[in-house]
Symmetry: C2
Subunit: 358 residues, 2 copies
């Protein structure tokens, strides 16, 4: 609790001083004014997040938090819960999509067991173990976890950000947990006030019958638990999950370290909503990777105040969207480091350009 | 003319045989069905384009065609024409945005002088020279070039694709030429039947007055030249530009070589419209990099039958959008090469998954 309190106490908004510095440089580059649009916005944002011009972004770590969810027993996924540990083993072998896409991004993937309902002891040294339990409770029938477990998950995420910070400039969030779109939808309903039907999607791809069942489960979840939207820890404990709590913690931890953190898709977005509830300023360090195909994800991004970089109909999680967005951060920073200014290059400015140096 | 005719005669649609092969592999990957959406579509498309599974995409070349445009004299840009050669020198020094973004993509930038109205002889060996003239004619008052010059530009693009093919798996198109959004808008009006007001945008960022003037120039251009939409060479000759013709040629040449070609933004899209008019099947090898901020670009993409990968409010050209899209091609191919199948990884399939192996 002490770690969480100290982080929340010190989580200041991004440093605004480097923003005008980056902006001024970007305006002098040899191109029409702001012709690279959102890439230039991103360059400026990264300067503010890190407090540096140019912002360091070379070393990237995707942290994929795995956990099981008691609510899987309600038939909300088309995959059995045993897939969670199977996929953890797939990550460790480097055979999952996030491994493949991380390679393209030049990122490392760090898997964390937050409470997979299986014995993963043989993976010691290959994954980080921060188990909050043997899977969370079935939120359709009671809380996901105790308040203490919720704080444990948040602090685990913060601690991991701190532990990895000496080798990481940019974090990416990731998740693995059969059933975890259901708590994510519940969290979203709590914070956006939208109905379960509006925020519940097909997850791994359930059919119409199972989607109806899933919506009923989210309704029941909110009914049974009555989470308090004004208390992020309460929402996490009642209708969240271990993976989601750790993602929220990673975001808080990264923000405190002034490191950008790329938010993956729907589950990571639910983690970001928890982080936002605890400390709105922490979101200043977050970049939304993509708009997911999961229903209502755009409402989640709206609530987070984030415009996604990509829109590729993704709905996988694991950190795959974060990996795909990473090269855009490199590109944004290259504008600040590599592109000549009008003055340097002897290129004529626009006739009506009032920004031209005297 | 012989080269162009032989290419048009042999430009077959993409090889469809590898598509089901790639599709079958992608369906077996350890993830919910098609959970990486458009990235998986892209992997399948690349297999069809190249005729190979996995498709080779490692070696990338962005070809940036530079040329001047007589229509710049009509006040359609806020930059003076002298910026075209200045930017060519900036490319050669590696100081432009396309150089910076190509580095992130691991791509090479090849600059081609198609007819810059300046002496660039001192850049011999650093750029390719295929000058069709000393800038194209002012299309508001007459044709951009002769039919012979149009064929020359198309063949130059084809030839460059062939010359670079031994060191290139994927091409990207790029342009530099003050005034070149005006012929691009005119070409788009010809092929889409839209009015000049619908297809003419702010280019480098002109104000309202200059935009009105630019729309009038496009109207006059179409009036004076009356291009024949059924004849791509006629459209290029009457209302095009040297850079645009060479881009069209590069697309035709790449398609004939079964190499994917990433179409940059608005000017490259105009080149693609010319290529499409000459040989619709050539577009099978084209990938649209992004939806540009230039007005009407989405209508151009619609006409080309292409869904863009990115939408980042870009409006620079040079090949910058193509560079930004390139890592997504690497990512798509990694799905085919690096991701384990359910069988390989011992991961359980969905309960209702009829695609499971027997």
């Amino acid at each position: 609790m002490k770690l969480l309190q100290s982080i929340l106490g010190n989580n200041l908004p991004a440093d605004t001083a480097p923003r005008p510095l980056a902006h001024a440089r970007l305006e002098q580059l040899t191109m029409p004014h702001w012709a690279l649009g959102r890439l230039m916005d991103l360059a400026e944002d990264l300067a503010a997040m890190t407090g540096q011009v140019p912002p360091p972004v070379a070393r990237k770590t995707i942290v994929t938090f795995a956990a099981d969810h008691g609510v899987a027993a309600e038939g909300v996924s088309q995959y059995p819960a045993e897939v969670t540990p199977q996929m953890v083993r797939n990550f460790v072998r480097g055979g999952a999509a996030v491994n493949a896409l991380a390679k393209v991004a030049g990122a490392r993937v760090q898997v964390v067991d937050m409470g997979v309902a299986a014995d993963l002891n043989d993976l010691d040294g290959k994954i980080i173990s921060r188990r909050a339990g043997n899977g969370s409770g079935n939120i359709a029938r009671g809380p996901a976890m105790t308040r203490e477990q919720a704080v444990f998950c948040l602090e685990a995420g913060i601690q991991i950000a701190q532990d990895l910070s000496s080798e990481t400039d940019v974090f990416g969030t990731g998740d693995m947990g059969i059933g975890n779109t259901t708590p994510s939808a519940a969290i979203m309903a709590v914070f956006t006030g939208r109905s379960p039907a509006e925020v519940t999607g097909r997850g791994t791809g359930v059919d119409d019958d199972r989607l109806s069942q899933k919506i009923r489960v989210v309704e029941k979840t909110l009914d049974v638990n009555r989470p308090n939207a004004a208390d992020g820890v309460d929402v996490l404990a009642k209708v969240g999950g271990f993976d989601i709590g750790a993602i929220a913690g990673l975001i808080l931890g990264a923000a405190a370290l002034k490191k950008p953190v790329i938010i993956d898709g729907f589950i990571s977005g639910a983690g970001a909503l928890i982080a936002q509830a605890l400390c709105p300023a922490a979101l200043d360090c977050a970049v939304a990777a993509h708009r997911s195909a999961e229903r209502g994800h755009f409402l989640m991004l709206e609530r987070l105040g984030k415009k996604p970089l990509l829109d590729l109909n993704l709905r996988l999680g694991e950190g795959t969207g974060a990996a795909l967005a990473m090269p855009l951060l490199d590109a944004a920073v290259r504008l600040l480091t590599d592109v000549a200014t009008f003055g340097d290059a002897g290129v004529s400015r626009a006739e009506d350009d009032s920004r031209a140096p005297a």
